[in-house]
Every structure is written in C-alpha cells, then in structure tokens.
C-alpha cells in the first residue's frame, strides 16, 4: 500500500504533469490565461449599461394628429431612431430586413370618438429577448399617452353617470304611479273573480232536473194510458171478435138449422103433396087430414124458416153493427194512438230542449270557471309585476343612492386606482449586477466542461495513457489528478473573473467572498465531473468536444438565461428547474446579489452536492468503460 505522503506526491506529480501538458500547448495556455480576462472584459463592456439604445422604430400612420406626433416625439426623446413608412407593409418590411427593431402601426384617428382606433406593434419574435425589452420601453411611452386619453374618457363617463342619476330620479315617480295602477287593477280583478265565483251557473240550479223528471213521468203515464187504451180496445175488439164468432157460428148453426128445416120443409112439402094426393078420409079412424096437417106443418116450418131467416138477418145486422163498432173502436184506437204519439213526441221534444238548455247552462258554468281561472292568473301575474316593479323601484333607488353616494369621482383616480411603484431590492445600476451570477455560471460551466473533457481526451489519446495503467497507482488517482488540475484552473479563472468584476465594474464580492468561493468550487466540480465523464465516454476528440459543447448548450438553453424557464412547457420547465446551471445560478444569485451566506441557499447547495456524488459515480463508471475499451 502507498502511504498518504507518497500518494500526495504522486497526485502532485500528476497535476504538475497535467499543467505542463496544458501550458506547453500555446493555444491552450493562451485560452487558460487570457480567456477569463477577455470574457470578463467583453461581458463587462457589453452588460455595464442601464438600458436599451440605438433602437430603430419604423412607424406608419393612416393620418397624423397630435397624439401621433406626441408618441413620435416621446420616442425620439428617448433616443429611439424613428423611421417613417408610407405603408404598413413597408413598415413591417423594415423589421423583416433588420432595418428596424419594431414597427408601430397607427390606424384610425387616435383622438376621435371612432371605435376603430388601434396601435399595432409588429415585432420579430425570433429576437425574443430583445422584443420584450423594446416593447417594455415603447409601451411605457405609449401607455402614458393612453393614460391621458383614459382620463378624458373617464371624465365623459362620469358626466354621463350624473345625467343618468338625474334621469332616474325623475322617472322614479312614474314607476310609483305604475305600481299603484297595477295594485288597483289587481283589486278590481279580485272583486270580479269573487263575483263570478258566487254565480250559480249549472242545470241543477235552474230546476231542469225536476222538469225532466216530470216530463219523464208524463211520458210514462201517456205510455201507460196508451197501453191501457190499446189493451181495452184490443179486449173490446177481442170481445167483438168473439161475439162475432159466436154470432157467425150461431148464424151458421142457424143456417144449418134453416137448411135442415128447409130440407125438412121440403120433405114435409113433398109429404104434404104426397099426402094431399091421397084421400085420407077413407082412412078409418083418422080423424085428421094429413094433407092438412102436413100443410100446416109446412106452413109452420116455413114460418119457422122465415123466422129463422129473419133472426139470421138480425144477426147479420148485429154483425154489421159489431163491425161498425169494431171500426169505430179501431178508429178510436188509431186516433187515440195518434194523439198519444203526438203527446209523446211533444214530451220528447220538450225533454231534448231541456237537455240542450242544461248543456248550455253547464257550458256557461265552465266558461265562467275558465274566466275565473284567467282572472286568478291575471291577479297573480299582477302580483309578480307589482313585486318586480317594487324591485325595480328599489334597484333604481339603490342606483340613485349609489350614484349619489359615489365617493370616487376623480377620473385620474379611476384610471389609476392603485399607484404602482417598482423599487429594485438592491441598489444596482447596470445589467451586469443582475446578470453577474448567470454570466459567472455560464463562464464556469463552459470552461469546466470543455477544459475537463479536453484534458481527458488529450490524456486518453496520449500513448502514455497505457503506461499509467500498468503502474501500481490506483486508477482513481488519475481521475483525482485530472479533477484537481481542472478545479485549480477553473477556480483561478473564477477568482480572476470575480476580482475584475469587482475592480473594473464594481460588482461586490468581498463582503461574501468565502461563501462565493465555496459555491464556485462546488459548481465548478459538477461541471468538471460532467466534462470528464464526457471525455471518458467518447472515443474521438471531435465527438467529445461536440458532446461537451452540446451538453453545455442544453444547460444554457433550458435555463432562464435566454428565456425564463417559466415560459417553457410545464413538463420541460419542471425538469429544467433541476438543471445544474439553474441551481448554480440560484446559489450565486443569493450570494452575489443578496449577499446571503451559503447556508441561506442550503437546499440548492444540497442538490448540487447530490449531483456531485452522482456524477462522481458516473465518472468512475465512464472511466471503467474507457479502460475496457483500452483492453
């Protein structure tokens, strides 16, 4: 094992060798020695200023007026070079061609009351950092003019508000009257509704039901009477028919008897004729004459027949009379039926008329209900209207009160209600003070990454590299020696930068020197380890240098140096916060600008320490990879 003293001597010898290697290359020595002087000189001269200058503004106006002239004069007063353009296109072309930094186009009359009036800034966002600086200055000039216009417009507005308050006050009584009228109308409608509600408009109340029932009774009585009459007539007719039948059968029987008698009479007559042809006188013991007797019987029979026939004729007469009676009965029945039918029809007609009347009365009742409902709706609508009118009245009264009670009536106070004042939290005068932390990190970063990767590459490409690895010195010693060589160079350069910044440009460093130096070592270490890792990882010097520049450029791009990281996309912005450049700048800002000790930036310092550990591991792994490549 090598003891510490020997080990230190070995490391010292390695560092000495590294310095010899660097310094014996003229270009390297020149960069290392003169680099920091040149950088700080250029940065100091470039940034030691308080504002923008030599800004060219091309302007175009449709028509010129006092406001336009005022803006142009204001720009010229602030050392802007104003270029007049005849058209808006020409104005924009000046920016495109680089002859102007910004084009301002005035359209419309800026002082007239026309709606169409605007001020358009045509800017070249490819010069993003310059655009906002110029815009900031120019808009400041324009804003002051616009503010005057705002005050004027506000005055007009306030006057119109006063007139409105007066008008409202005048019209307030009209609204009260409107409310009273509506209230009266509501009362009237309520009365009308009540009256209509009290009206009995239905068929029952008119007694039509009783009439209907009576008519129905009459109708049934007529029907009953008709039925009884018809039944009676039919009974009479039946009796007549029966009687006629009896008579007819009796007549038939009588005819039969007559015929029998006539037959008998004929017989008797024949007998009489016969008997008379005989002389019954000679008949002993016959005390009568048969001819006579038979003649007498025949006479009796004739008489009987005559009587029977007479009776028959009587019967016929009766039948005839019965037929007359039947006819009379039929006639009576028909006339009765006709009368009953007429009565029935009359009753039905009456009943129908009653039904129609009842329907109409019911319809009338429905219409009344509908009217009452409409009236109720009207009343409730009127209620709402009254409430609205009340609200309007209250609102108008409030507006009136508010207008009357408006405390701020000064247009200038309205235009600028909050007086803004920007005060720098540190007493600096130039951009150099603000940008010093970022510039310092930038220089340290580029120096560290490029120098360390170059030294590693040079070391790797020397043929002695192999001999180093076959000596009994642990591999990590070579890493340590290269790191120490770099840190010494970068540290010295950093100190030179800081001292020149202090002495030549008045940037304060002595007050917080220890913390600044600690931070400088820490920041340099991170970028040196990164540069060394790149050096070991890449095979050729060209790709290594390219990777170093690319890496440093990435750190620079994703920092607030060019554009604020807050303006990056959310995801990239979140990652960019952990950019070593951003963290280093944050630490140095706290130390250089605010004069804090390194403990005030402990979170960032811890993060840098974390990076340091991670990068040490990565560096060792890269060296192992490179050593394998050597094998």
């Amino acid at each position: 094992m090598i003891d510490t003293v020997t080990y230190s001597k070995i490391v010292y010898e390695m560092i000495k060798k590294n310095f010899r290697n660097i310094l014996r290359s003229k270009s390297s020595a020149l960069i290392i020695l003169l680099g920091p002087f040149l950088i700080i000189l250029l940065i100091g001269l470039a940034f030691n200023t308080t504002g923008l200058h030599n800004i060219k503004v091309s302007i175009y106006a449709e028509e010129t007026n006092d406001v336009f002239e005022e803006i142009v004069t204001s720009l010229k007063d602030n050392e802007f070079t104003v270029i007049d353009s005849t058209t808006e296109e020409e104005c924009i072309d000046f920016v495109k061609n680089g002859e102007a930094h910004i084009c301002i186009s005035f359209s419309g009359d800026l002082t007239s009351d026309e709606i169409e009036r605007k001020l358009t800034f045509h800017v070249d966002y490819s010069k993003v950092n310059l655009v906002f600086s110029i815009l900031n200055v120019i808009t400041h000039e324009v804003d002051s003019i616009a503010e005057d216009l705002s005050v004027e417009y506000t005055k007009l507005l306030i006057e119109q508000m006063d007139a409105t308050a007066q008008e409202i006050s005048e019209k307030s009584s009209t609204i009260t009257s409107l409310a009273n009228n509506a209230e009266q109308m509501q009362q009237n409608l309520e009365l009308l509704s009540a009256e209509l509600k009290s009206m009995q408009v239905d068929s029952d109340s008119f007694g039509l039901s009783d009439v209907e029932s009576q008519i129905a009774d009459s109708s049934s009585q007529i029907d009953e009477f008709g039925a009884i009459a018809e039944e009676t007539t039919e009974s009479g007719l039946a009796l007549l028919d029966e009687l006629e039948s009896y008579i007819t059968s009796f007549e038939t029987e009588l005819q039969t008897q007559i015929d029998t008698i006539e037959d008998f009479d004929d017989t008797v007559s024949s007998y009489a004729t016969l008997a008379c042809s005989f002389d019954f006188s000679s008949v002993d013991g016959l005390d009568f004459d048969p001819c006579d007797e038979l003649g007498e019987i025949e006479d009796s029979l004739d008489e009987a027949i005559s009587q029977a026939e007479s009776a028959g004729d009587d019967f016929d007469e009766i039948v005839s009379q019965l037929d007359d009676v039947r006819d009379d009965l039929d006639t009576a029945l028909e006339s009765q039926q006709e009368i009953l039918d007429a009565a029935s029809e009359n009753i039905e007609s009456l009943s129908a008329q009653l039904g129609e009347s009842a329907t109409k009365i019911d319809e009338l009742g429905n219409q009344r209900d509908s009217i009452v409902a409409d009236l109720d709706e009207m009343i409730s609508a009127l209620d709402e209207n009254l409430a609205t009118i009340d609200d309007i009245q209250t609102g108008i009264e409030e507006i009136s009160d508010n207008l009357a009670n408006a405390e701020i009536t000064d247009p200038e106070q309205i235009v600028n209600p909050i007086l803004t004042q920007i005060k720098p939290i540190l007493e600096s005068k130039s951009y150099l003070d603000y940008t010093m932390p970022a510039l310092l990190v930038l220089v340290v970063m580029f120096m560290s990454i490029l120098l360390s990767s170059t030294i590693v590459m040079t070391e790797k490409n020397t043929r002695a590299y192999f001999r180093n690895y076959i000596t009994p010195v642990p591999d990590v010693t070579f890493l340590l020696s290269i790191y120490l060589t770099n840190i010494i160079i970068v540290f010295i350069q950093g100190i030179i930068l800081l001292f020149i910044a202090q002495l030549a440009f008045g940037v304060s460093i002595f007050a917080n020197l220890i913390s600044i130096l600690i931070a400088l070592i820490l920041i340099s270490s991170i970028f040196i380890l990164l540069g060394m890792s790149i050096g070991y990882l890449f095979v050729s010097e060209e790709t290594g240098t390219l990777a170093s520049i690319s890496m440093a450029s990435i750190f620079l791009l994703f920092s607030s140096f060019l554009i604020p990281i807050e303006s990056l996309s959310e995801a990239i912005g979140a990652i960019a916060k952990y950019n070593p450049f951003v963290i280093s700048e944050s630490v140095l800002r706290q130390l250089l600008i605010f004069g804090n000790s390194i403990f005030a930036a402990m979170n960032d310092v811890m993060l840098l320490l974390f990076y340091l550990i991670i990068l040490s591991v990565i560096l060792y792994m890269c060296e192992m990879v490179d050593k394998r490549r050597l094998r």
């Binding site: 070995i10 060798k17 043929r463």
Partner: protein, 364 residues
Amino acid sequence: MQGNQPPLISCQNVYKKLGMNLILKNINLDIYPNEIFGIIGVSGAGKTTLLRSLIGFYKINHGTVLYQDKDISKQTELIRKIFGFGSQDNCFYEKLTLFENLMYFGQLYAVPEKERIQRANELLGLVGLAEDKNTLAKNLSGGMKRRLDLACSLMHSPKILILDEPTAGLDPGLRKHMWDLIMKINKTGTTVIVSSHLLSEIEHFCTRIGIINHGEMLKVGPPNELKDLYSRDEEIHLETWPGNYKQIADEIRKQRLPVNYLTVKEHKIIAYTPQAEFVLHKVLIILENMRERLLDVSVDKPSLNEVFEALTEKQRIKGISEDKLIEYIKSALKKGATKDKIEQTLLHQGWPEDVINGAMIKIS
C-alpha cells in the same frame, strides 16, 4: 529447470478470455533469470495478450503465474513492480522533456526523489539520451523515442522487462541499436521477455523462444534446438539463368536424389535435403547438362521461419479431419502431383507418416 536455476516466472495452465473469445489456451511457460526469452507468433496469435497478462494489465481467467515459486496472479501491485513494460507505441508524454517523463513515471512507482533523479540520469546515459534530457519528447526521432520508452519502463528497476515488438517500425540500423541496448539491459541482470514477428531477430538474440499460435504455446526452446527438432534437412538455394526451374526440378526428381522437399520461391529453387553436399554436386551436373548458368548458390540450415511455418501449419492441419486430408490428396493428384511428392509435402508439414499412409491406402 534450466541448469540448476529454478524459473523466475512460471505460467501454469493460463487461460485468458477477451469478450467471448478465448485468446490464451492452456499456456505453460517458464522464464528463467537473466535470459532473453522471445515470443513469436503471427498477428492475433496472442503475444500481446500473454505479455499484458504477465504484467497484470489483464487478469487471467484461469491458471497461475508464479514468481520465484510464489503465486502472484492476484497481487497486481507486486506484479506491476516486478515487471517493466516497453512497447512499440512510445508510451510517454510528448509534451514533457525526457527527464520529466522519467521523473513522472518514477514517481508513479513511488521511487524516492533522489533515487529517481539518479536513476533517470543513469537510464538516459544507458539509452544514449543524456544530452537530450531537457528536450521535449515530441522532438525526438523514432529511434530515440523507442529508447526513451525503454528507459521509462526501467525507471522502477524491474526484475523482468517485457518488450512488445520493440523494433517494429525501425530501420535495420536502429533495430540493431535497439537490440544492443536490450542485450546491455539484460547484462545488468534484468530478465527480458520480448515479442516480435521478425523471427530472424528473435533467433539471433534470444536465448530461448516460445512459438505461439491461436493462443496456444506450440513449442518452447532454444532456437537451434527447435530448428533441429523440426528439420534435420539443409536448404540448398540455387539461382540460375535462364531459370527453367520446372525442368530442373523434374530432372532432380527423375534422378531420385535424396531431396525431401523441392520448391521454387522468389526466383530461386530450394531443395531440402539431409545430404546437401551430395545433392549439390549432382545438381550442378544437372545444371551443366541443361545449360543453366549458376548465378548464386547457398547451403543453410532452415531458418526459424521455416520451423515456425511448419509448426503453425501442423497446428492448422491438426484441426483438419482425415476426410479433409483425403480430399486434399485427391485434389493434389488431380492437379498432377505424384504420390511421392504429396507424401513429401505432407511429411514436411508435420503429418504423421502412419496417418498419411492410411489416407493413401484408402484412396487406392
């Protein structure tokens, strides 16, 4: 054991894999004190891997390396102190002076400062660069650079100096100068292991030689012993005019002269024979009869190159199956070669006689 001396370094069953390739296969090698041991082999044979394994730059996968009978395989620091390593690549810093380079590498070996200064001056004197001690290394000539590299590898006074192709890229004059220097260093008691593909140098300067091919140590021994072992023939080199070598060769074969192998190379006819005097006499008669004018004639023992070629060819053929041997004989017969000629060629290549006879019987 060489004489009564035990080996200084002994490699036993050493295997080394680089990636998926087995570069060293079962290397067994003894290096004795104060010898100059030469390792020869074609490019990719495993010379550099063997040397770098010895100095501990590569860790061997299997086997042991003994230093004075002690296993030092895992004692990297000790190995690096024992060995010095010089190469053809000039492993020093070109932007440092010669003295600074020596001081730097001396410091890496933890040589105390006074001793370092003394040693640096001594070495600069030894390699003949004392006058240029403050010259930047980049301003040296090729030969001087190689000597500086040698001096750098000796700064820690190693017991064994390993040199990987130390004369590669140097002109013959510088090569000789370099070898003189190596001999001088060897005489100071430093054992030297040197690899080269220039076999004539190795043959001339090394006490023993190891022939390595495809990672295998084919043979180890003194140069003459190796030559005797692999060829008891002598070489007759003839250069004639107009140089009808084919007809000359046919005439030699026709007369059945005791020639084992006959070949034409670099506009010369070379005959390998155990009876050089007799054959040369006969050949001169043949040349006279054929009206060939003798331009040059020489009789030599075969060079180490011949031994090397024979050994490597034998190793190549060992990898060929009997079937392939039969195919080879058949194709040679088709091309018009006689059986005798084929047999001679195969014997010369190191094929065992019984194997050749077996193949011939199968073909007939």
